[in-house]
Amino acid sequence: MSKKQKKMLIRIIAASVLLILLNLLKLPEAASAAGYFIAYLVIGYDILRKAWKGILNRRPFDECFLMAVATLGAIALAIYEKSGDYNEAVAVMLFYQIGEFFQSYAVGKSRRNITELMDIRPDYANIETDGTLEQIDPDEVEIGSVIVVQPGEKVPIDGIVTEGSSTLNTSALTGESVPRACGVGDEIISGCINLTGVLKIRTTKEFGESTVSKILELVENASSLKSRSEEFISRFARVYTPAVVYSAVALAVLPPLARMLTGLPAGWNDWIYRALTFLVISCPCALVISIPLSFFAGIGGASHEGILIKGSNYLETLSKVRTVVFDKTGTLTKGVFEVSGIHHSPMEDAELLEYAALAECASSHPISRSLQRAYGKEIERNRVSEIEETGGEGVRAVVDGHRVAAGNEKLMKRLGITPIDCRSTGTIIHVAIDGAYAGHIVISDLEKPGVKEALAALRNAGVNRLVMLTGDAEKVASRVAEDLGIDEYHAELLPGDKVSLVEKLLAERSSERDKLAFVGDGINDAPVLSRADIGIAMGAMGSDAAIEAADIVLMDDDPMKIAKGVRISRKCIRIVYENIVFALAVKFGCLIMGALGIANMWAAIFADVGVMVIAVLNAIRALRVKNL
């Protein structure tokens, strides 16, 4: 509790005690009036002060000003009517302050809870100098320095292990609870917690560029991108208060005048009282507070599960996703290809593989990398020249003086070479050397475990169209799509085709409200990620490009997280709507009853504070996403 809050609590308690005593003791009228006056000042002096400032700044719709008018009005009526009952005015002020107090306490508490969930910021880095460890600010560590991470400590900066082996707890980053083993030569990512052994790490990035900094920045700024519901509420709040105030003025003046004209007694007291009741309900705070709080809690809960959502607006869009488009490689399949066969080669298999691997040496495409892996030896770059890569086709290069072309059927046909078809399913890399067909290499990719369940879960979560896009061959695509139960697939696409296909799918939707999400590995599908309503990058731990391009980042590559993200967003949006509807219903109900003279000021203040308390408690529910 902050100092401000403690002071407020003391004032609330003092005023409550005073109010109860005044009601229990039967003091003479003057003493009792003085008592009420003191209680009123104790609880409301700052409101009065702010109301005064509001007048000076010509802001008639300031909530403090309105509260001051309502309570002072009630006191004036009590004096005029000689009732000696000032309970109402003091109580309204008291409950208003209790509401404010609760709001600031609850918001502060949930803010802390949520930041604690994301508490991955390392405080120091250990540097070894002359055999002793020194703790320094991670900001001061230069690239290439060697840092020491002891068991139980957080890895402060991204780097490569140079000494030692250990297991890492990555749960703060990925939500994954199974520790990950690491040893010499492994890249390791900041934000993980070292569990068992001492590690020496050569840093590859500055602290500000490290994963942990990127993630923190992302999460901290996430709720700044406002959702449509937030925009709606702040627009609403702008109109609501003036509207209520004007109707209060109308309520105070028009009915009595009308009654006077028709010869009835004017009843000014009654109508002014009803108008004051209006002012009590005029504060839109309950509504305004609960919306960003819900989003903040939802985003916080999601990031604890390894789902980073870059803004409230994306959380809102995610909840409306009806179509999910997947990139196949690296998303539905492991993206780890293995050479499963070499056919029709006039030369030794190993030699063909060597040519292909060398030709592809400059490419970072998963297929190229798997060829290089299968080749198994050091790639001597100086044997390769004139590398020319054509997206969606393959690579041409000169290796040891031979012109080598390695790629799919399209490439072969363009070069005027007739490739020999393959009967096995998988990605086929045809190789031509010096313009003559030299056989093909079959590479197959494995489906990720759990993809099938994840897709079923997505369907359960309300997604009704699953689409797969791939640059891979028709045959491979159809097999994967059938295996996984995907509705439609498009194969043999060039990178540019993916964008136009996503645009086509966007145009095909029955309504603008049904959103389309694209899921990719974030490495070479940045244009598609940004074209879709919402771009989701998977397995992005450590990939800056993916974090940059996507709207939602899944830290590990568990496909189940997509469905979980959708469910989290649905829950959060449901809470937001519940709060909007509930708060509006109670406020308008109260306004109507107040106008009719059924609800008095007590009811109004209870409605105001009660709605806020319930809305805030409801908003905090968005944080609980563990079992979704």
Binding site: K50, K53, N57, R59, D62, E63, E100, Q103, S104, V107, R111, I114, E220, N221, S223, S224, L225, K226, S234, A237, R238, C283, P284, C285, V288, I289, I291, P292, L293, F295, F296
Partner: protein, 72 residues
């Protein structure tokens, strides 16, 4: 140019008011107030000095919400 400032504001509606007000100050291209993280993200117009602009922003914000604070 975009800069982030730490702010102190007690109620969500006041944060909205601050956002509205700050957005109207000369030299400010756009502004977002994040009530939950208590941050104000200001994009300045080309060629404006953030320091002088922020002074005006603070002054304007104090008018709508006397209790607010912006760490400059």
């Amino acid at each position: 140019m975009k800069k982030t400032y730490k702010i102190e504001v007690d109620c969500a509606n006041c944060a909205n008011l601050m956002e509205d007000t700050a957005g109207k100050v000369a030299g400010v291209a756009s502004v977002t107030v994040n009530f939950m993280t208590q941050k104000m993200i200001v994009t300045f117009e080309e060629g404006q000095d953030p320091k002088t602009v922020m002074k005006e922003v603070l002054k304007a914000c104090k008018k709508v919400e006397p209790d607010c604070e912006i760490e400059l």
